[in-house]
Amino acid sequence: MADVRIQGVTKRFGDTVAINNLDLAIKDGEFVVLLGPTGAGKTTTLRLIAGLERPDSGTIHVGGHDATTLSPAERDTAFVFQQYSLYPHLSVFDNLAFPLRSPARRFPEEAVRRRVEDVARMVRIDHKLDNRSTKLSGGEMQRVAIGRALVRKPAIYLMDEPLSSLDAKLRADLRLELKRIQSELGATMLYVTHDQIEAMTMADRIGILADGVLVQIGTPRAIYSEPANLHVAARLGQPAINLLPAGLLPDGGAPTGTATIGARTEHLAIEKAANGHADGVVDWVEHLGDQNHLHVTVGAKKLVTLTDPDTPLAKGDKVTIRYIAPLYFGSDGQRLM
């Protein structure tokens, strides 16, 4: 395990700038999740670290050594691809053993066997070691792919949306397992996803990427409660944060220059209006099973918040709405302190 330092890295594909002047330092044993929409440059960042792409400018240090111009094989990284990149003609065992059987490593076969069996147990695929890798279910294939990364002890594990093609139940299981495995191994890991739950639950730090720029990096709590700008605020939270123009609701205490107010459920106090004044009207109450969403119309805007399953509010009710220490954003989208 080792630390990874990316300094001023820029990568272009033709005219598009995939990564723009990226600075990112991952500490030894840290679990960093890159979160961002499709095309934000997450995968490119991983590929740059793995050496599958070369940066146009900037440097990449792995374990204190300059790795900017090294080939993938010389970098000592392990990569889990979004597709199950298994070797289809090999058995599960041989797939897992593949990285260990590299002539450069010269592992005795007995050691290979022991290591493969250990890892297979870790990713819970040890009962299928003799199966052809093509005869597995999607979840099993991805376990093998993850296992193939884990058999080595590289400087850093790079994972590119490894859980995105799995069903919800399996995704939840593997999410926990991955976190457990990572902390057991004390592994340095850079994990890419567009799933905010994965990011919130697994990461030591979350990096938010947008259009090739690292917008903010910090602990999940910090990213959630102190987003740097509107983009970051909009990425986290379910239902998504409500972004309302200043002045729509009484907002005493808003700093000067406030253009937009961001309000999640915990920033809003909604009550049935007493006689007279009302701020909005309940649109409908949406029962999703595990969550209940309250939709409220305020002027021309709509608000969505979480509510109790047995809320007294119903469609058509007039309500008063008050902010409780919401997030304030200036006209440039940056959060105002």
Binding site: A50, L52, A78, F79, P88, F98
Partner: protein, 315 residues
């Protein structure tokens, strides 16, 4: 809006054909459509096959249609399996099949592998390489005979230029040693592109990310080739071998055009023997029996091979 669109579509859709042609059921109509093909198949494929099987048990001669036809039982088959010349022809055929397949597979796969590097102009070179395959075998046979001419042929000239042997000594088609190789060279020249095309399809079907995974896993180019490229392209290579094997087992056109089986009988492959027996000696019954034996042999070998191919594919 949507409803109206659906109505329009319904109105514009013609009535089913069977409804319009009265008195014919859907099934009847289906038979009507396929009957020309079935009749043609029966007339020129199935019937001749069974007729040949019948003839193979007789002493029928096509040049003496009025003679009484005697049933010989299995005598034709017994004579063929004991005939020294037939076995020599089979050996010659096996020799051709082996060398043409070996050369075409090795060269074809190598070319495919090189083309798959996707260098500048690789599409242009693919087209150039495919040209021989697009030519008619008759054309290929004739101009190679011209190239092989000892006095004026370009091939003989190049050979003598490189080796210093006088061109009149490079008798590709009339030298007992060289004639088989002359045919192997032409067949390889013509059909290597075909093998290359199939191999190329195989190589293109290997996803890029497998190579990237292997690269991160520190597999050398050599190891990537042996543990990814070759095993994953193997079903395609085997398919190409199957096609070329069946095709060359019954190789006729090129041999007939280039050497006609000579000099002597050094290039007399099974199909040439068959032609000589059937249309020079006019032993129709006897050659029918030989044809049936060849058919069963190819069919049996191909079947065994396809089983092996499926096993490789299923891995």
């Amino acid at each position: 809006m949507l409803n109206r669109t659906a109505d329009n579509v319904a109105r514009a859709t013609p009535e089913p054909l069977a409804k319009r042609i009265r008195g014919i059921s859907d099934k009847g109509l289906a038979w009507l459509f396929i009957s020309p093909t079935i009749l043609l198949l029966l007339a020129i494929n199935i019937f001749p096959l069974f007729w040949a099987i019948y003839l193979s048990f007789t002493n029928y001669r096509a040049n003496r249609p009025n003679e009484v036809v005697k049933n010989l039982g299995l005598a034709n088959y017994q004579r063929i399996l004991g005939d020294q010349d037939i076995w020599i022809a089979m050996q010659t055929t096996a020799h051709f099949v082996f060398w043409t397949i070996l050369l075409q597979t090795v060269i074809g796969f190598t070319l495919a592998w090189l083309i798959d590097r996707k260098f500048r102009g690789h599409a242009f070179w693919t087209t150039i390489i495919l040209v021989p395959m697009m030519l008619s075998p008759a054309v290929v046979g004739n101009f190679w005979r011209f190239l092989y001419e000892p006095q004026i042929g370009l091939f003989s000239y190049v050979i003598s230029f490189v080796t210093g042997i006088p061109p009149t000594n490079v008798q590709m088609l009339s030298n007992v040693e060289l004639a088989p190789w002359a045919i192997i060279i032409v067949d390889t020249w013509m059909w290597t592109p075909y093998v290359m095309l199939i191999c190329l399809a195989g190589l293109r079907s290997i996803p890029e990310y497998i190579y990237e995974a292997a690269e991160v896993d520190r597999a050398s180019n050599w190891r990537q080739f042996w543990s990814i490229t070759l095993p994953m392209a193997l079903p395609f290579i085997m398919l190409a071998v199957l096609f070329r094997g069946i095709e060359n087992f019954k190789m006729f056109d090129m041999v007939n055009l280039l050497t006609g089986g000579g000099p002597g009988s050094t290039t007399e492959v099974a199909s040439i023997t068959l032609k000589r027996q059937a249309f020079e000696s006019w032993r129709t019954g006897y050659s029918s029996a030989f044809a049936i034996i060849l058919f069963v042999a190819v069919f049996g070998l191909a079947n065994i091979y396809v089983k092996a191919l499926n096993k490789v594919k299923q891995r």
